[in-house]
């Protein structure tokens, strides 16, 4: 479904991604781990189409379509969802308003009519309950004054409403308390399906005990340097990046 081949990308003239390859098939969960500053968020942003990242080589296709040729909103409508490492606060734009606009944008692009108001409310209420978010969250400004953990839960809530085909979750588990981690993990698990794929960027093996990954990759210095199964995450947890990277380099 997603094919990343020899991807090179720079920020402000500095090359961050240096020939990255990754292939994700439908229904798979890929975890990406890696040291701070190795380029994990850069990869997520390049996939979502953020300005300021210059792709200098390689290709990305989603179901055979050139993702890099699409605007960020087109990618979203094609089913890409980015759960932000640092979700943005948008005072004055309520959560529900954002979600309705997002759903309708997708429907409009497909030539479908706008979502029925009653059906929409039912949908968001149900998903909010699943994420243990009070109804009052729906009316609040997007992430406005939310705690760190609430922001992350809100990202998964949005994902649940938008039902993407490919979810990129950038450190959605960081800053969560134990209960919130369970809520977020079960939110992710509830959305797993044979047609939907996940890329989970994480620093903690703990998330992967709740959400079983099919693959674990190590991203270092702009490339995937190792790929394995859950065992790799445990190895990293035990030995740290130095040990694992030393083994790669030798």
């Amino acid at each position: 479904m997603l094919e990343i081949t020899n991807l090179r990308a720079s920020v402000e003239g500095t090359e961050i991604l240096k020939g990255l390859d990754l292939s994700v098939s439908p229904g798979e969960v890929h975890a990406i781990m890696g040291p701070n500053g190795s380029g994990k968020s850069t990869l997520a942003h390049v996939l979502a189409g953020r300005d300021g990242y210059e792709v200098t080589g390689g290709s990305i296709t989603l179901d055979g379509e050139d993702l890099l040729a699409m605007e960020p909103e087109e990618r979203a409508r094609a089913g890409v969802f980015l759960g932000f490492q640092y979700p943005v606060e948008i005072p004055g734009v309520s959560n529900v308003y954002l979600l309705r606009a997002a759903l309708n944008a997708r429907r409009k692009a497909r030539g479908e009519p706008e979502i029925d108001a009653v059906q929409f409310l039912k949908l968001v209420r149900e998903k909010a309950r699943m994420m243990k978010l009070e109804d009052s969250f729906l009316q609040r400004g997007v992430n406005e004054g939310f705690s760190g953990g609430e922001k992350k839960r809100n990202e998964i809530f949005q994902m649940a409403v938008l039902e993407p085909r490919l979810a990129l979750l950038d450190e959605t588990d960081s800053g969560l308390d134990i209960d919130a981690l369970k809520v977020v993990s079960s939110g992710i698990n509830a959305l797993r399906s044979p047609a939907r794929s996940f890329i989970l960027v994480t620093h903690y093996e703990r998330l992967l005990t709740h959400v079983q990954p099919d693959f674990v990759h190590v991203l270092a210095a702009g490339r995937i340097v190792r790929t394995g199964d859950r065992g790799l995450a445990e190895e990293l947890e035990a030995g740290g990046y130095d040990q694992v990277l030393a083994a790669v380099n030798s």
Partner: protein
């Protein structure tokens, strides 16, 4: 820069002719004398030029030309007066219409506790004239002098002591194409009274309006004022609103400037006695080649007085938005709490924002803060919305509208009205929501 001498003379002559024509022999002699003094003052000073600090950003040369032209042609009998579009919750509100500076018709349905008097009516004349004389004794700036020399009527709205008026009163200032209006209004809130006033400014074509409105709030009085300026896009309008707040009096003002080619507003709030409070939420929006200049001066004159002003500016196209906010804390105003914030959104590289929030403090025991920011739409927020599938235009529209709506508070006004105003804002703003 000053007006060309020739233009100045043409304007002075036009003003003098009109002043003579408007000087009603039935009005009290002292009032007529005061008007003559105002005329002399205006003739001597003319319109202020951009070298004067207060008028640095608003060049009145075009205003002078428009004024001279309007004063020169008497179209009074043939004009049509523009209407204000009705808003929800206010369809049946008692409405006072000041058309081209004169009270239009007899407003019906005024609630008990509200009296309306006007200078043109022998019955209310004395009350109006007294209030005006007090004002005229206080010194006038050139545009104040112009209004004082030329006003054709003055209206006094009085709220009786302890009257709690829950019905919203509407006050509409309407100016017609080709007319120079000088509305003059006085509003008195008696002790312990409460009132809600919705002030609307509308116009058509090449209107010129120079309104002076003075509010006096007695001890413990509470005034909620919503001002919606929707002048036509060729209008030039200046308004000066002054407020005098007595002990524990409260003013809550929401001020929305959406229209007009050239707009200048001056707001003076005197927190005259202890525990008086004012809260101001303002918005000005300019696009095209439109210009809006909002100045406010909040004077803390007594202990434990509070002011909180939040003013937002949005400038698109080649529009220019000017904000100047001064908080002045006088000696003895101990325990003053003052907050002043101005935020501006620049939507186009050709738009301009000039902002200057100022504090002048002459006592130690105060809590004051002020700040101003000018920036573009938040790129992170735009990307966040895009990443949810929302296209760029829609995302911009959402952020601009959210920024504008932040000044609308639902605490004081009926939710349906606030919603309608919010929709009106969104429709008026760049890429107004077509759906």
């Amino acid at each position: 820069m000053t007006l060309l001498e020739q233009d100045t003379q043409v304007l002075a002559d036009a003003v003098a002719r009109r002043a003579a024509a408007n000087n009603d022999a039935a009005w009290p002699a002292d009032l007529r004398a005061a008007r003559e003094r105002a005329l002399r003052l205006f003739t001597e000073q003319g319109l202020p030029g951009t070298r004067s600090e207060a008028w640095r950003y608003t060049d009145l040369r075009d205003w002078g030309a428009r004024l001279a032209k309007a004063l020169g042609s008497d179209t009074r009998d043939r004009i049509t007066v523009p209407d204000a579009t009705p808003l929800p919750e206010l369809e049946d509100a008692p409405t006072i219409v000041i058309a081209n500076g004169c009270l239009s018709g007899e407003p019906g349905g005024l609630p008990a506790g509200v009296t309306l008097s006007r200078l043109g009516d022998p019955q209310g004349r004395a009350a109006c004239a007294d209030a005006l004389m007090e004002q005229l004794g206080r010194g006038l700036d050139p545009l104040g002098a112009l209004n004082s020399a030329l006003f054709e009527d003055a209206v006094l709205i009085s709220i009786a002591d302890d009257a709690r008026i829950e019905t919203t009163l509407q006050l509409v200032l309407a100016t017609s194409d080709g007319v120079a209006a000088q509305p003059r209004i006085l509003v008195h809130l008696g002790r312990g009274s409460r009132a809600r006033l919705f002030l609307r400014q509308v116009s058509s074509g090449e209107a010129f309006s120079n309104a002076l409105i003075e509010f006096g709030c007695g001890e413990g009085a509470s005034l909620d004022l919503l001002r919606l300026q929707e002048e036509g896009d060729r209008a030039m309008a200046r308004s000066a609103l002054t407020f005098q707040l007595g002990r524990s009096a409260q003013l809550d003002l929401t001020s929305l400037d959406l229209g007009g080619l050239a707009i200048r507003n001056e707001l003076l709030v005197r927190l005259h006695e202890q525990d008086a409070r004012v809260r101001i939420n303002g918005l000005q929006f300019v696009d095209g080649t439109r210009h809006a200049d909002n100045r406010s001066c909040l004077e803390h004159l007594a202990p434990r007085t509070t002011s909180e002003e939040t003013f937002h500016g949005i400038a698109d196209g080649r529009g220019k938005a000017v904000f100047n906010g001064l908080v002045l804390v006088h000696p003895g105003a101990n325990g003053t709490d003052a907050r002043l914030g101005n935020r501006n959104l620049l939507l186009s590289p050709h738009a301009e924002v000039d902002t200057k929030p100022e504090l002048e403090i002459y006592t130690d025991d105060v809590r004051c803060s002020h700040g101003a920011t000018t920036g573009q739409l938040d790129a992170d927020a735009l990307f966040y919305l895009a990443s949810r599938g929302i296209d760029r235009d829609m995302a911009r529209r959402m952020l601009v509208s959210a920024f504008a709506r932040q000044v609308l508070s639902t605490e004081r006004w009926p939710p349906a009205l606030v919603t309608a105003l919010g929709e009106q804002l969104t429709a008026r703003l760049p890429h107004g929501d077509p759906s």
